[in-house]
């Protein structure tokens, strides 16, 4: 096991243009499952590829196990990587795919079978060893790619969107298996995804990236409940956090915190008149799209998320009293869009 650290890591593909990764400094904990989360083009894959040694950083340092590895080739870094496409060798059988890293690293031949069978057994693909990759389903290919990654017991696992090629049902079960697998091997893992559900469900901590810059590093609870800026606030959560501007501040609250006023008795809360424009029925919940009626936020689009257990009657066109608990309000500076201290809200 090892700790991966980056210091001011930067990658500029074309001189004069904005970097794909800009001064990223972060460090994993030992045995941690760290997720890089961001939209397309946020630099998460480039960052991972630099850690793997597949891209050369423009500046900055990469450390694995406390040692600077910038000058080391991928094979000298003792890492294993699972690619989005799995990158299985199509002409080799599953056995030979898994044994390839052992052969490449000149592990004595007599150990190959034991190690391959151990890795295959751990992932439940012991019966597939004689097949070629083209004869496997998406889920099986993913397991072969994982088996090939663990067979030489690397110091660090790098996973580049390994679930994105699976269908929704398989993805949920593969996610669970991957979590179990990480718990059983305990190797430091960096996982790249653009899927916030995967990130929230699997990550010990999440690194939110946007335009090559780290916007926030924290536990899933931290990044969801206490976003560091408006990007994190709106990128995480579906539907995203509601943001309303007021003088020099942006006030944010999650749709599930914006509830009918009579459901929030007692606690200190802020009240709004809310006109429902459109209702989305999603089975377990209803999502209301509407606007605030009132002096300061006239016609401001706001989303509310109601559990199916709440009473009906919030139909399109109806107007209700809605409110948000004070403790659920988040404040952001209007200029920097960064998190700001709570302040009185004199709009009432």
């Amino acid at each position: 096991m090892a700790v991966v650290e980056t210091r001011n890591l930067t990658k500029v593909f074309k001189e004069g243009e904005l970097g794909a990764v800009n001064k990223v400094s972060l460090a994993t904990h030992e045995g941690e499952f760290l997720v890089f989360l961001g939209p397309s083009g946020s630099g998460k894959t480039t960052l991972l590829r630099m850690i793997a040694g597949l891209e050369t950083p423009t500046s900055g340092e990469i450390l694995i196990g406390g040692q600077v590895v910038n000058h080391l080739t991928p094979r000298e870094r003792r890492i294993a990587m699972v690619f989005q496409s799995y990158a299985l060798y199509p002409h080799l059988s599953v056995y030979n795919n898994i044994a390839f890293p052992l052969k490449a690293q000149k592990v004595p031949r007599e150990q190959h079978r034991t190690k391959v069978e151990w890795a295959a057994g751990l992932l439940g693909i012991g019966k597939l060893l004689g097949r070629k990759p083209r004869e496997l389903s998406g889920g099986e290919r993913q397991r072969v790619a994982l088996a090939r990654a663990i067979v030489r017991e690397p110091a660090v696992f790098l996973l580049d969107e390994p679930l994105s090629n699976l269908d929704a049902k398989l993805r949920a079960s593969a996610r669970e298996e991957l979590e179990q697998f990480h718990k059983s091997v305990g190797t430091t893992t960096i996982y790249v995804t653009h899927d916030q559900v995967e990130a929230m469900a699997m990550g010990d901590r999440i690194v939110v990236l946007h335009q090559g810059v780290v916007r926030q590093i924290g536990t899933p609870k931290d990044v969801y409940e206490d976003p560091a800026d408006t990007f994190v606030a709106t990128f995480l959560g579906s539907p995203p956090m509601n943001l309303v501007e007021f003088s020099d501040v942006i006030v944010g609250f999650r749709p599930e915190s914006f509830l009918p006023a009579d459901l929030l008795p007692g606690a200190k809360h802020v009240r709004f008149r809310y006109k429902v424009n459109y209702v989305e029925y999603l089975g377990a919940e209803r999502v209301l799209y509407g606007a605030i009626e009132g002096r300061h936020f006239e016609s401001k689009e706001i989303i509310s998320r109601l559990s199916w257990t709440m009473p009906a009657g919030y139909d399109a066109g109806s107007v209700h009293d809605f409110s948000v608990a004070e403790s659920d309000l988040r404040f952001f500076d209007r200029k920097t869009e960064k998190r700001a201290d709570p302040r009185p809200y004199p709009w009432q």
Binding site: L54, A80, F83, A87, P101, Q105
Partner: protein, 291 residues
């Protein structure tokens, strides 16, 4: 005009082309090979396998067969190795890659006869620029320099190298197409798995390119086995039949020597060999087919 008629009209040139320029001569060659047809004679009798029996006993046929095999095997070995290396060099972008690709493709684009005449001058016994450079560098004394096309082994080597010069671009283009079909994650995965350059090349890249290499090899073998332009222009089969191959022998016997029947039999001798090669190569390509 109905669609059916239009289809037939559009299709007709291709059918006519195949019947007149390939089908008819092929049938004629088969007929001649089993007859006693000669230029200048109106007599035509079927003689069964007599022509094949007689060419198999002829020393010049055996020599030509042997030369054809040497010519094809050596040329293909050089072509495949060089085009693999070239395709690797030309795969990654660099500043003047487009220009280099164009220059490499030129020998294939230029008419084969013109190119070969150029080589004939380069390898000439008196005017050879290669000989001139070797003398200038003091590797040889004047008047003792090698006769590139006048000594049996050197003549064969020259024919092989000129043919390689012509075929390498074609093979390189096929290899480049094959290489670009390999996803870039595969060599990256190999490098992360700990494989160095040679292991990646021999265990990943080349096996994954087997189907495309088979295609390049198949075309190369057919082009080399049936080629007579390079041989005919450079050496006309000489010296002492040392570069005579089956196609040039067929031409020399059938057209220049007036023995149409024997010439046809020599040409037809190639057909089963090439069919077997094609079948074998296509099988390899099919078996190695990847996802």
């Amino acid at each position: 005009m109905s669609n059916r008629q239009l289809g037939a009209v559009m299709f007709a040139p291709a059918v006519l082309f195949i019947i007149l320029l390939i089908g008819f001569p092929f049938v004629l060659a088969v007929l001649y090979a089993f007859s006693d047809a000669r230029i200048g004679s109106t007599g035509f009798h079927l003689v069964g396998l007599e022509n094949f029996r007689s060419i198999l006993q002829s020393p010049s046929f055996r020599k030509a067969l042997q030369n054809s095999i040497v010519f094809t095997v050596c040329a293909q070995a050089i072509v495949i190795v060089c085009s693999t290396i070239l395709s690797m060099a030309l795969e990654k972008p660099f500043r003047v890659r487009g220009l280099v690709r164009l220059l490499i493709l030129l020998p294939w684009v230029a008419p084969v006869s013109l190119g070969t005449i150029g080589w004939k001058w380069i390898l000439d016994s008196i005017y050879s620029v290669i000989t001139w450079v070797l003398i200038w560098l003091h590797f040889y004394k004047p008047y003792s320099a090698p006769m590139w096309l006048g000594e049996p082994h050197l003549a064969m080597a020259s024919v092989i190298l000129v043919h390689c010069w012509r075929l390498i671009p074609f093979s390189t283009v096929i290899m480049l197409a094959g290489r670009s079909a390999i996803p870039k994650e595969i060599p990256e995965a190999a490098s992360i798995d700990g494989a160095g350059f040679w292991r990646t090349l021999f265990h990943i890249t080349i096996p994954m390119m087997t189907p495309i290499i088979s295609v390049a090899l198949l075309f190369g073998i057919v082009f080399t086995f049936t080629d007579m332009t390079v041989v005919y222009i450079l050496t006309a089969g000489g010296p002492f039949d040392s570069t005579q191959t089956l196609p040039s022998l067929a031409f020399a016997t059938g057209v220049q020597g007036s023995d149409l029947a024997a010439g046809a039999a020599i040409s037809l001798f190639l057909v089963p060999v090439l069919v077997a090669v094609a079948y074998f190569m296509l099988r390899v390509a099919h078996r190695a087919e990847v996802v």
